[in-house]
């Protein structure tokens, strides 16, 4: 069972968290985005083998959404931070 380090609560079992998928930056002005751009934001997510930046909510804990950098192959959790605050790769 994965152990995720919540920046606010410390290391907790993955069962305390809810997976939120890869975050995507919302176009600043949705009305200005064309259909392909918007569809890309709404639907398209990478499914990499290896490092993946994800959002999880500590739903049974502090209820904060956190950013998690995880290796999808080994399940190693490399870093966690507040959303948008993961260090550059």
């Amino acid at each position: 069972m994965m152990l995720i380090h919540c920046p606010h609560c410390g290391a907790r079992d993955v069962t305390e968290f809810t997976y939120g998928g890869a975050g995507a930056a919302r176009p600043a002005d949705p009305a200005a985005a064309d259909d392909p751009q918007w569809a890309d934001y709404v639907y398209m997510r990478d499914n990499p083998r290896g490092l993946h930046d994800e959002l999880w909510q500590h739903s049974a804990g502090c209820r904060r959404w956190i950013a998690v950098r995880r290796n999808t192959l080994t399940h190693d959790v490399i870093a966690t931070a507040r959303p948008g605050e993961l260090p550059p790769r």
Partner: protein, 202 residues
């Protein structure tokens, strides 16, 4: 509070006195009625001062901690979120003026049970995945976690007299079932809350 006389705990009829004889390894004691206030704010110096002035207690800022004062306890729930807990009748209320704070009354949202006795940690470990070893979970520690699929606040008060568990009100029946079931092998003693204004069960 105006409603004090008609308050009926979600554990009314469940948390009834029960003696396990002299061998009780676990004692369960409901805390009711309580005042519980959700407190939000940015934990800067001014806010800590304001809370101290209004509540007479130190605002806990480190993760998984709590503060205590003459009125009651302050449990840290998140980076900008706390729970004020006091016995009903205390001066704490949603109407307190604390600059920078958002207060929401959640007095009825949870049931609270104190669990104490020599076997408390063994019993809690049946459902709680948090390490309760005294070095890892000293008095004053407060965490939120899931026990038996129920989201709970688990607090070890400064007086170290056991642990207090707060569970969502609607889960009270299942929560009590888990508590008593887990405690059974150790001998389980139940003490009714003092001054419980609950109506008799039908």
């Amino acid at each position: 509070m105006a409603d004090a006389t008609i308050r009926r705990s979600a554990l009314a009829g469940l948390a009834v006195p029960l003696s396990a004889g002299s061998g009780a390894g676990i004692t369960l004691l409901e805390r009711h009625p309580l005042v519980m206030i959700n407190l939000r704010g940015v934990a800067d110096a001014a806010f800590c001062d304001a809370v101290r002035a209004a509540c007479g207690a130190e605002l806990p800022v480190a993760p998984n901690t709590s503060g205590t004062g003459p009125c009651g306890e302050i449990l840290k729930l998140g980076p900008d979120e706390w729970l004020l807990v006091a016995d009903a009748g205390a001066a704490w209320s949603e109407k307190m003026i604390i600059p920078g704070a958002t207060l929401t009354d959640v007095s009825h949202a949870r049931v609270a049970v104190r669990v104490k006795g020599a076997k408390t940690r063994d019993m809690l470990a049946k459902g709680c995945a948090i390490d309760l070893h005294p070095r890892q979970f000293p008095p004053g520690t407060c965490v939120q976690t899931a026990i038996a699929k129920i989201n709970v606040i688990l607090h070890q008060p400064q007086d170290a007299d056991g642990f207090v568990l707060y569970a969502p009100r609607s889960f009270a029946g299942s929560f009590w079932h888990w508590l008593t079931g887990s405690a059974a092998e150790f001998g389980c003693h139940v003490i009714a809350p003092p001054g419980d204004g609950s109506m008799p069960r039908r």
